[in-house]
Symmetry: C2
Subunit: 159 residues, 2 copies
Amino acid sequence: MSDSAASTRALTADRESFRAFLRDHNLPVTAQRLAIADVVLGTDGHLSADDVGAQLAARGASAGTATIYRTLDVLMRSGLVVERDFGEGFKRFEAARGVPHHEHLICTVCARVTEFRDERLERMTTLLAESHDFSRQRHRLVIYGLCGECRRGSSRPRN
Amino acid sequence: MSDSAASTRALTADRESFRAFLRDHNLPVTAQRLAIADVVLGTDGHLSADDVGAQLAARGASAGTATIYRTLDVLMRSGLVVERDFGEGFKRFEAARGVPHHEHLICTVCARVTEFRDERLERMTTLLAESHDFSRQRHRLVIYGLCGECRRGSSRPRN
DNA sequence: CTCATTGCAAAGGATTTGCACTAAT
DNA sequence: ATTAGTGCAAATCCTTTGCAATGAG
C-alpha cells in the first residue's frame, strides 16, 4: 500500500470523525469547515493559519481569515488537531492523528520539523518534575539544530 | 548573608557588566538603560516587557515602550539577559545570571515558574537529535504541572 | 558639536470580534 | 423559519519603526 493511499484512508476516517463531532454538537456542516479540515487533517506538516489559507487557494477553495481561525478552534475542540507554538510569533496546527505525544526537532536553517517520541524522556520528565515538588501534567521539548541535509550543505546555510 | 544581600551584590556586578558592555560598544549610558537593567537584572523572575514598565513605575522611574524593547535587546546582545517564549503570546525576559542553560517547570494553576538544570537531559537531547540525523544546537524543555502548594490546595485550584 | 537615544505615534503581523448577510438544518 | 456560520472590516495585543526633539560623549 502506498503512503498516499494510507494517508487518504486516514484522512477519510478523520474527516468522518469531524463530521460526527459537528453532528453531535449540533454544529452546521459547512463547505468551509470541511475544506479546512481536509487541508489540516490531510497533511502531516505543521501549518500556520496562513498556510491553511494558501492550501485552500491551491485547491480552488477559499475561506475568510476569521473562518479559518474559528474552524481551527473547532478542530482543536474536537481533538483532531493540536496547536503548536515554536516561538515564531504565530501558532501552527497539526493533525493529532491519534498520536499521544511527541517532541519536535526543528532545523535552524530550513525550518524543517521532524517529530519523534521517546519513552525514556517521558519518564525522565516525570521524575524531574517530582524532584522539584511538581506533579507533571505534560511537557514540551523542542530541539533546535541542523538537519542532515543542511549540515551536508545541499543548500548553503544562512546561519 | 541574607538573600537580599546576595542579590544586591549580584545586581551590582551585573550592573557593572552592563556599563562595561555599553562602554566597549560606544553606546551611551542613559538613565533609562540603567533603570531597565536594574529591574531585569535585579529580579529572578521572568518579566514581560509590560512587567518591566510596571516595575519602573513602581520605582518612580519610567521609559517609553520602544525604549524598553530596545534596551531589552541591548541586554540580550550583552548576554546578561535571555528571552523566553512560553507560548503565552508575548515574550518574557530573564537575567542570565551566568547560568548556561536550564529548563522550566510551570505551574498550570498559579503560573509559578521554577528553573532547574539536568545534565542527563542535556546529553539525552544530543543523542535524540543524532538518532534523527540532526546535530543539536540547543533545546527547550518546559514541563507543565502542579506545584506543591497548588497540589496541596493552599488555594483552591481552578483546573 | 555630533551622533545615538528617547518618546510618541504610526505601522506591523497575528489573531479576535462586531455585524450585516448567507446558508444549514 | 430558525439559528449558526461566513466574510469583511475594525479592533486588539504585542512588538517594531519613523522621526523630531533630547541628551550623552
